[in-house]
């Protein structure tokens, strides 16, 4: 009911009912969501001209699934995203376990800055730098180099939620475990880890999405045989707009949307457990 814009205006100090805010917000969400919705709608269009609606059809999905290149690119995307997200989450979890503790040690701030570096600098810069690095070492560009690049930029996406989760944990629970004669190892496996699992899964899914959606790093570190879906889509889009692209793009959107909902759902569970009071 509070969203109702037609509700009688109260005194001007009531900032919740200022005129214009509601309209601006509606316009904002239209701006954000309409292009996505139009893209999805057009992927069901039977017409080849792409932007004029003539009728509903699933043809373009059929065409996309029958295309071997697309299936190959999707397979590559899944391989890269799985390996990169699992590796990055493992590294990030280990690091977060130590970094989340309250004690201070030399270089702690600097290490945190290093862990944030991959999301701080524009992706194009590390992408070409790593390209020069691999080429100088004589590495052949392909799946391997792409996966290494992805692991690096996935680390912060896994590290930040896991560390936040650890910092939000009630230290009293760990103390209680110690009071009940659990040794540190046992306390970790039986008390800390079970509490941390939602945080780890949430970080894992985020890293997976980020890897799956990546274009720039894959583009510069990839070679023959490492074409992913975004790379494939980019290649098609440069030539021209085709309905197959709409279909694959819509599928990618829906995949990311469902995965992020899953991750946020896991994250929501966290807040409920750790919220004050």
């Amino acid at each position: 009911m509070r969203l109702n814009p037609f509700r009688r205006r109260r005194f001007p100090g009531d900032v919740t009912h200022w005129p214009g805010l509601f309209t601006a917000t509606i316009a904002f969400f239209a701006f954000v969501y309409l292009p996505i919705l139009i893209l999805i709608a057009l992927s069901f269009n039977e017409n080849r001209t792409v932007t004029v609606w003539t009728g509903f059809s699933l043809d373009w999905y059929r065409v996309a699934f029958a295309n071997r290149d697309i299936v190959g690119a999707a397979t590559n995307s899944l391989i890269i995203a799985s390996v990169a997200s699992v590796s990055a989450t493992t590294l990030a979890t280990l690091a977060a376990l130590r970094m989340a503790s309250k004690d201070r040690f030399m270089g702690k701030g600097a290490i945190n800055a290093v862990f944030a570096l991959p999301i701080t600098v524009p992706e194009i810069v590390p992408a070409v730098a790593t390209l020069m690095f691999f080429a100088s070492l004589g590495f052949t560009l392909g799946l391997g180099t792409v996966i290494i690049g992805h692991i690096v930029f996935c680390i912060p996406f896994a590290y930040l939620p896991i560390r936040a989760r650890l910092e939000g944990m009630d230290p009293k629970i760990g103390e209680a475990a110690a009071d009940l004669y659990a040794n540190p190892v046992r306390a970790f496996w039986r008390v800390t880890l079970p509490q941390l699992i939602p945080g780890i899964l949430s970080g894992l899914v985020l890293a997976f999405i980020i890897s799956l959606d990546d274009f720039v790093t894959t583009f510069f570190l990839g070679g023959a045989g490492s074409t992913t879906l975004p790379i494939y889509i980019f290649g098609l889009v440069r030539v021209g707009v085709t309905p197959e692209v709409n279909a694959i793009s819509s599928l990618m959107l829906l995949l990311s949307l469902s995965l992020v909902s899953l991750s946020l759902f896991l994250g929501r569970d966290q807040n409920r457990n750790t919220g004050p009071g």
Binding site: R2, G13, A24, F31, P122, P126, V128, M132, I233
Partner: protein
Amino acid sequence: MTRAGKTTLFRVLLIGPALLAITAFMIVPLGLMAYISFRGRDYSGGVLWDQFSVEAYIRLFFERQLDDTLALNFNYMLIILRSVWLSFVTMVVSLLVGLPVAMFMATRDRKWKAVLVFMVTLPFWTNLLVRNYAWILLLRDHGTINSLLLWLGVISEPLPLLHNEFAVAVGLTYSFLPFMVLPIYSSLEKIDLRLVEASFDLYATRWQTIRRVILPLAFPGIVAGCVLVFVPALGAYITPELLGGGKTLMIGNLIGFQFGGARNWPFGAALGLFLLVLVLGSLSLYARRYRGELEGSR
């Protein structure tokens, strides 16, 4: 082993692997990039490792003529200025759009806040390439917007909406708008609404209240939002590539081009270093000024 020794070993084993991964595959390559920017260019596409050269930096401003004299060349400077300009426009538009949205969000009750934050966050996690591609469908000559305007009879022939600076600015705003809304929202959310009521009790107008009460309180969030929009916009690659149509290059595309068609690694490295210094410089300025805000998010 001493207790202190054990603690150190434990620390190295846990933090070490992640630190090593980022150091070996990001920091060392960035260092190598800085080194390469001062090397000579091998025209076959590589680097003359044993030749020190500042040619890559000279190239930013000058063009070497056939008789080896230098002539001023504004082409690259133009691309850099365009990048800064487009990022600035993106930042300002995002602020104007984002501020009222953040104000609306911050004044809802708890349940609505959660829903709205979710809705603002959601598009960020979808494919950037696909989201920019969607704008091609909208902005094309026969795209959704032109078709709609033609059908309505507002225009008689399609407006040139795609492959220009306008399209790039729209794409950048679309890509990075959530980064403006969320930090402003989180600083507005902490405001005690009674301050706004007090302002009205003291006969301030709505405009005065915004200027004298709300904006100062939201300022840290506004600065954070501006940085978070400006920085990624400056380094954008996909948006100008897709929506700029090859004519409206930004720094990111110029860098990428040195590793594709142009095959000039030292120049690409110099441009990359330039962008890196620009970004890290503005971030550290921001961090020094607003250290409390960055740490306060915990």
